[in-house]
Symmetry: C2
Subunit: 477 residues, 2 copies
Amino acid sequence: MPDSLEQFFNKVDELSGSFINDRLASAIKIQSVSDDPDKHTELDEMTNFLVAELEKLDVAVKTYDIGDRPDKKAIKLPKVVVGRYPKISDSKKKTILVYGHYDVQPEGTGWSHCPWKLEEDNGRLFGRGTTDDKGPVLSWINALDAHQQAKVDIPLNVLFCFEGMEESGSIGFSQFMKNNKELFASVDAACISDNYWLTTRKPCLTYGLRGIDYFTITVSHRGVQLHSGMFGGTVHEPLTDLVILLSKLVDSKGKILIPGVNELVDPMTLTEKERYKKIDFQMDDFYSSIGSEAAIYDNPTDTLMHRWRYPSLTIHGISGADSSTDETTAIYPNVTAKFSIRTVPCMPGDKVAKLTIDYINSEFAKLGSKNTCEAALFGESVPYWMGTPDDTNFTAGSNATERVYGTANKPDLTREGGSIGVTLDLQDTLADKSIMLLPVGTSNDGAHGPDEKIDKRNYIDGAKLLGAYWHYFAAQA
Amino acid sequence: MPDSLEQFFNKVDELSGSFINDRLASAIKIQSVSDDPDKHTELDEMTNFLVAELEKLDVAVKTYDIGDRPDKKAIKLPKVVVGRYPKISDSKKKTILVYGHYDVQPEGTGWSHCPWKLEEDNGRLFGRGTTDDKGPVLSWINALDAHQQAKVDIPLNVLFCFEGMEESGSIGFSQFMKNNKELFASVDAACISDNYWLTTRKPCLTYGLRGIDYFTITVSHRGVQLHSGMFGGTVHEPLTDLVILLSKLVDSKGKILIPGVNELVDPMTLTEKERYKKIDFQMDDFYSSIGSEAAIYDNPTDTLMHRWRYPSLTIHGISGADSSTDETTAIYPNVTAKFSIRTVPCMPGDKVAKLTIDYINSEFAKLGSKNTCEAALFGESVPYWMGTPDDTNFTAGSNATERVYGTANKPDLTREGGSIGVTLDLQDTLADKSIMLLPVGTSNDGAHGPDEKIDKRNYIDGAKLLGAYWHYFAAQA
């Protein structure tokens, strides 16, 4: 394996100009914004681009219609692209499922580069989608391409699965997985490359995601908007009641005050505790991410634990009151706050929802207000996800990373504080098969923001990393 | 006096058709919206209309330039119209200052009548400005007109003062008063007709207004907008701190929690307590105003006391967070809440501001948050206003009301919960001279809203009321 991997790596370096200036540059030009129904032509163009790139490399490609857009009548959702390599699977070999997405966030504002034209500047490749997620998707294709040109065999079956709605809640993807379980029947493990290193310095493998319960609380006096001069002091004001309820959810130090919720959290194990010690993360990394020093904890371990393995509660805003900065004087009749709880093992979303709603109702009852209060879950609970970081899939990812980035860069085992919905969709379909998140880009790539970039080094080494992962996984079989 | 008043009343009835279909209809057609700088021609037209109406009745009129609009370069603010009747004051007679405004609120939405064409429907006269404040302004002119046509002397000097920016904060009026103190040197008392009966049933005289201190609280982590998945639980969230601070300002039953504020309120006197007993106000009136039964007090006395003679605190809204109803997940870096405290005797605005800001700062310090908090007064304190309801001015108002509406309708002595800025400007200039608010319209006229109206009865009886008030004031001299 070492020899053939070296050949593959050399070929990646040799082809790097083309990987950047042909493959990535072509993809970045296509404005495949899934949030915008008027960009359906561009989304189709991006589907076709991927199909063509895969077919050029002898992949058996099929696209899957997943229905109409809910936001534009008679317009199809972007298709799911599924590719098999080799065209006829070798049943003696393992099968790896590779997931990525080819849609991107809207352009937004604040760019100093052109979002839709790949620009290289001081080792960084700028453009919408460079790191999220066209760069990583093309890294898989680059890995396949370099194997073929280096005449190095890929020692397993690869099942590519690329969707085009990830940035818009992966609409249709969950149903696609349910409808096509047989496609994934022979998958031994899966790898998602749609997240980032924890810092700019060190690679990582990600084995956990927090879930989310999203809530609304509406307080109403069921009447009309009132003048605060005429009615202040004589009516139960909905916004007064609402802020009192919100103040009872969480304290300034992030402690959730809803009885019973913190008790659902898994106790720390020694193994888990040890993992945190090894992670290369400094408070300066954190301060630089948030742009200030308003951190609750003054050390990396507590900070990471509270990002990854403890729940949190954030109030996102209030509708129905005046959100302008003008000097207005009304009492608003119906106000709604929205907040979310990030859930971790072993917090069942439905149990958290019940505890939260019951608590809000009981706190409201204590107010003795004649207003009405309705607390509800917004949509469905999104569960947390936990992988199995000691299994062969993660070992392969770790070995591949060390091989590409050097022994000093044994990857950190990380979790993420947010949710990646497709992980749960894949896990549902793959049942007990291992899923690993293997990021290509770094913490400062600015996914979703202006001046999104991927470092040239990460894009090129990404092809090596993902290709090497195939070899290390096959070798452990 | 009775005889000559009867002659005057009869003449008002006789002229009522013309008062409505000529005078009021002409005024309503003019879209003198002071909030809209593009309506300056209409405002000038309204100024000229009033000047002409007054001059036809032998009033010595002068208009006062009060400077340029702050919102439109090189466009003049609508002029203040000052009229003297008789043209040469009789120094042996008392002088009454009469204030009103000729600008109106913007049209707004929701009308089922045309806002700019007077329409009579079932005894109600619909149109923007019918009750606020063109109807009452014209009632003064109608009173003068009917006196002349009935050949009844007006037993005092009348100084008319009509401004055109009241609905836009009376910009320029305060300075006009300061610059022209000599105009008002001989005034013995003033009457403002720019408010409403407490109900639809019974006239009132108003002797008090609450003041207002308007505040903002800004909490910031001085960094960037953050993803609640990535950062929830690890940073001091500004909105969490803000709702905790807001929850400490006032309880669900309207009790202000800022130490020292309630202690500033004047104790109830027996005389004052007696006044409340006589007021014709039912909880059903109140429920119908607010459109619900979410009243803090279940009886009219407590309700009115808390509208008029106790302070209140209303939270108006929060800017900087997400006020949409979408399922968004950000932590916002800078959030600002705005709230106001209605002040009553003897709460000095600056003292209330200091107590409030100090309290917020000390509560914030208790949180142990690394965010920053800034509490500030928005603009300047507007003081409360208290008239002298037992003086000759109010006695004249009361006698005039009984004469027009009958002994059973001895007017209620009321206060208002809101502020009317010009009252303070007039009081500043008139020093210890009495000011009375003598409303013409009723509680359901819908000033500022769609389908603003004045009852035909109130418009016509308004001329009688205001004219009779001159006689009763003069008689007490």
